[in-house]
């Protein structure tokens, strides 16, 4: 039971930031698509901007790893 709770906590640590990242990327993506349509040369910058929110998942991943290694 305890292990299941730890696994759930680790999953939530990655899952919730993943949802937040997806939301942020959806917003950036739609704005970025408009920008690229207007100015194709901004494509590279938009790709980078699109990758920025992923930091949240990375931090979630660190927390999940720590949870598993500390308690499981």
């Amino acid at each position: 039971m305890e292990k299941a709770l730890i696994a759930l906590a680790a999953a939530l640590a990655v899952g919730i930031p993943a949802v937040a990242t997806a939301y942020a990327q959806a917003k950036i993506g739609s704005a970025g698509a408009g920008t690229v349509a207007e100015k194709p040369e901004t494509g590279g910058t938009i790709i980078i901007l699109e990758a920025i929110p992923e930091t949240m998942v990375i931090l979630g991943f660190v927390v999940a790893i720590m949870l598993i290694l500390q308690f499981a």
């Binding site: 590279g44 980078i48 920025i52 992923e54 931090l59 991943f61 660190v62």
Partner: protein
Amino acid sequence: MIRKMIRLALWGVAGRRREIIEELHRLGVLHLEQGGRRSGTESARLNMLRLLRGKVLGLIESLGWDGWTSLSEGSIDDAEKLLSALPPEELAPEIERSLEEFGKRLSGLLDERTAAEDLLLRAKKARDILDRFSAFFRRDDAGSPGTTTLWLIPQNTVQQALGALHGAFSAGGEAWEGRHHFVPGNDALGVLALRVSPELEEEASAILSRWKALPWHLPPFCSGVSVEHSLPVIGKKMEELSGRIETLSGDLRRTSAEWGPRLAALFLFIDGRTEQAAVEAGLGSSEDTFTLHGWLPEDALDSTVSAMKGRFGDDVLLQWRHPGEKDWSSVPTSLKNSPLCAPFELFLKLLRPPSYSGVDPTTAVAIFFPFFSGCMIGDMGYGVLILLLSLKLKKAVRPLLRDIGSILLSVSLWSIVWGAAWGEFFGDAGHRLFHLEPLWLERSVSVLPVVVFTIALGAAHVFFGLLLGIYQGIRNRHRHLWMEKAGNLAVLLALVAGLTALRGKLPGGIFTVPLSLLVIGLALLIRGGGIGGIIETLGSIGNIISYVRIAAIGLSSAILALVASKFLDVFGLSVFGIFLALMIHLLNFVLAIGGSGLHSARLHYVEFFGKFYSGNGKEYTPFQRRSGSSWKKHS
């Protein structure tokens, strides 16, 4: 590295102004600082050249030619030699005459093809409509009297219209002998076929018109043919039109292949002349002399001076000097790196160039980018595939693809090195087939050491960025900048040293060192950046943790490769099992290239460049002939 620039001032004899500007354009090294004065006649010449340039571009677009990247320098030089031989006053009218003649021939071909395509479209529509009434027409062929007409009629009025026809023609107790068939269309309209005896035709038309029906006509090439017998005529005409369109398209393709490169060479020639005329029009000049200022790289100074003096002798006077600190903001930035690092300048093209007094991070990117990407991919098998892909790309015609090929080559080599460290060759296939063992550790099992390693890597990368920031601040005498960066670095070092001491890796007696560093760092931070500086430090901690993505993406890549092998375990060495394993590897390979490149780039742009890169420089755009597809950006 950023090339040293020289400010060049040129005084020339007004009579040789055009020649001098042409020579500077040919040399192609001077970044001009132009004035804005233009006389009426000079503007007229400039406008005429721009008009000609637009006409040539219009013809190239009409031809549908887009072979700019394959345009040889030789063909451009030939065009230049040929056209330069014409007297300047005859050049523009001669080009315009030739363009008009060619334009007429081209538009004749294009118009004919457009007309044929329109007619073919109309014939297809007519055939589609008539096809739906073929059964109705076949009954008429049996010999019933009358003529058939087709009507476009709103679907909601067709019943009333037919009712009106029955009412009008069934008078006297006799049923109407006419026939009709209605086919609804996709929109509110439908097509009604009506067959009535010739004497009733006029009245039927009047009734249908009252119900908003419009007569439908056969295409013009069917004149004299009845609706019932028009289908074979239309079919024959469609074949004829398709053949004609094919012939015309072939002619246009041949014309495009033959004339496209010539027109492109002409375009580049006129473009060069337009640029020269624009410079000429903006020069500061008196009746006898004119002046011109600009920047050129120091390594191009000697060749430029000797070329100008050799051709114009005492008709030009050249003076030059190194830029002072006050000039730094106006000096354009030109980058020059070794052939190994130069392809990585591509990463800076997404940003504004660094300022002249700034730091060129290309070498650092060339070292760290492939290292990070390779660490994420970390598979010898994928590394070999990327190596093959990079060798193919390095042979490409487009410089951009060649640069990408060079970058991928470095990435592939590091992927192979990291693959050996992690012991991966298409996942665990290397271990299964060749008993391959990791030189360091197996990253899919030992996660924590890899996470710690990537954080250490991130700390080193961010510290390096901060050191570059300190160097830039001291060099530009921005006290606040270097103090903030130094404070940031000291606080981060204090945290690292403190954590190490707390973990017992350092003797407890030296705990005063991180404490002192922290105090000094905070003092520098507050002096340099105020409260914002402290927030910046918190951001830097986040930046360092962000490097965990190298471990995270690497882990997901390794596990996906393991999944591919699992398919073989489950399905055995069957066609289906091998197919699924290959598909997973293909997906993993694409994700590995895309994900590793994107995230490595992001680590550079956000985490690394954020520590020192200002990007407020001016791009070095020498006055020279444009080539390739660069015109697209500027025309």
